[in-house]
Amino acid sequence: MRTVETRSHLGQNGRHIHRDGPSVIEFENVAYSYGNDALLADVSLRLAPGSFHFLTGPSGAGKSTLLKLCYMELMPTRGRLSVFGRDVSGMGRDDIAHSRRRIGVVHQECQFLDHLPLTENLSLPLTVAGRDPSGEAQNLQELLGWVGLKARAGARPPELSGGERQRAALARAVIMDPELILADEPTGNVDWEMSLRLLQLLVELNRLGKTVLIATHDLNFIRAAKSQVPTRVLRISNRSLQLAGADL
């Protein structure tokens, strides 16, 4: 099976932002089955540090499953999966939790703690890592400004609009300065203008050296991204992974 591989390249400002080096994520002939249903079969993929990938395919093709494997919510039923150079099969629950602190995840449904104000939700990764959020107040304010939610700092998640929740999820995903950003249908609940705003934020993160993997079926979103940043588009079809691009 051919491995879909990413390479380093120069960014728009000429800075060498996509470094060669050990893969952030590496799938080797990975399969995932739920009961008797094979959801992914024989997937091989390497994500180089600083790369920008889209994962596309029809609904139910296995995009979310692949992302869940990346942040170890699911474990391969066959094959070998490495995250940050470590084989996930040898990881304990604490190892997985520590690895997740290096991954920022943005979900379509944005998981928040509804009883806490936005600032506390954003600083949740700091809290669970044992860091004092009050010591990061400045950073938090800058982050709120970056996603345009300074005025909504005290609001609780149910009071936020879909777009605000997506931006808040992105802010929470990056507060720990993760090496990898995973986004599952980030534009699913927002209008086109907000989609472009989110894309802008993701591109900025990629330019800072973060590896980005976005699962989406929104081809316009992918086209908009391709015009701003070198991307690779992966398509899941028939439970396996292929490089796409020419038709986009």
Binding site: L113, P125, T127, V128
Partner: protein, 300 residues
């Protein structure tokens, strides 16, 4: 395994972990109520256990050192046989005191069955000699043999026949009290485990979010464990104080008779119920911790 560090953190608290779980819910009220009710019952079980312990000791001591000589002699020989029996008793080693009961005392003994103003002179009631033994006690078989020779109508009763079942019954009551304490602890653990499981299930989304952002199981468990322990401690404190007040308000049974003892605590025993709240808190800590880790293992 409960570590000292976990307990220390339990007391000092952890602001972050405390806030991540929504503060309200029916499980909170359920835990407080259950702990209060169980602590209340535990105080009563403890009081019962201690009271039966006192009862067993008192019965054993009181009955072990007293005996009775009953004299059923034909008319006209009673006084003679009483005098002979008293002579035998006064010269028997282990007898501290021996005196015949007066008519008034015999009437008092029979009063519960026949009512007041019993005409003793018209009834054939045997004469009774109360014997108080020394700590060494008497040789019952030897005394019986001597009485048979000197006063054929005299029968020595050292109360052994009915003392043993009484002491055994008191001992069983005490065991029952201790077993009740064990059952109460087990029921408390079971109910708090159920409440914790309900809380964990109700907060499945919160747990998933925390795991997503890299929370360790210990962090998530701590949030639930501390909350349930504090609730259990609060409820148990209230239940214990209420139980102690109820025990204190019970009528004293001492006045009812020599053998009876009040259900309650005496002296330093009043400090024992104060152990109930920390024990309930420890039970809650262990039960919630176990439930939390078991449930978290099922979460990715």
């Amino acid at each position: 395994m409960i570590r000292a560090a976990d307990l220390a953190e339990l007391l000092t608290g952890h602001t972050g972990a405390d806030r991540v779980v929504p503060p309200t819910g029916y499980t909170a009220r359920l835990t407080v109520f259950t702990s209060a009710a169980m602590a209340f019952l535990a105080v009563f079980a403890l009081a019962l256990s201690l009271a039966t312990d006192r009862l067993a000791s008192r019965w054993s001591e009181a009955l072990a050192r007293t005996a009775t000589v009953r004299i059923s002699a034909p008319a006209g020989q009673e006084d003679e046989q009483v005098a002979a029996a008293l002579d035998v008793l006064r010269t028997t080693p282990g007898v501290a005191e021996a005196r015949p009961l007066t008519d008034a005392e015999r009437r008092e003994l029979l009063e519960p069955w026949f009512g007041p103003e019993l005409p003793l002179d018209r009834l054939r009631v045997p004469a009774l000699i109360e014997v108080v033994e020394t700590a060494d006690g008497v040789d019952a078989a030897g005394l019986r043999a001597r009485l048979a020779g000197e006063a054929p109508g005299a029968l020595f009763d050292d109360h052994t026949q009915w003392r043993r079942p009484l002491v055994r019954a008191a001992g069983r009551l005490r065991t029952l009290g201790l077993f009740s304490l064990f059952l109460i602890s087990a029921a408390t653990a079971a109910m708090i485990t159920l409440a914790a499981q309900a809380a964990l299930a109700a907060n499945a989304r919160v747990i998933a979010t925390l795991r997503l952002v890299g929370a360790l199981d210990t962090f998530i468990a701590r949030a639930f464990v501390r909350r349930f322990t504090v609730r259990a401690l609060t409820g148990a404190l209230a239940g214990t104080l209420l139980g102690m007040a109820a025990v204190a308000a019970l009528p004293r049974a001492d006045a009812a008779g020599g053998f009876l003892t009040g259900l309650g605590f005496a002296g330093a025993q009043w400090l024992l119920p104060l152990l109930v709240p920390p024990v309930v808190a420890l039970v809650a800590f262990g039960a919630t911790r176990l439930a939390a880790f078991r449930q978290l293992r099922e979460t990715t």
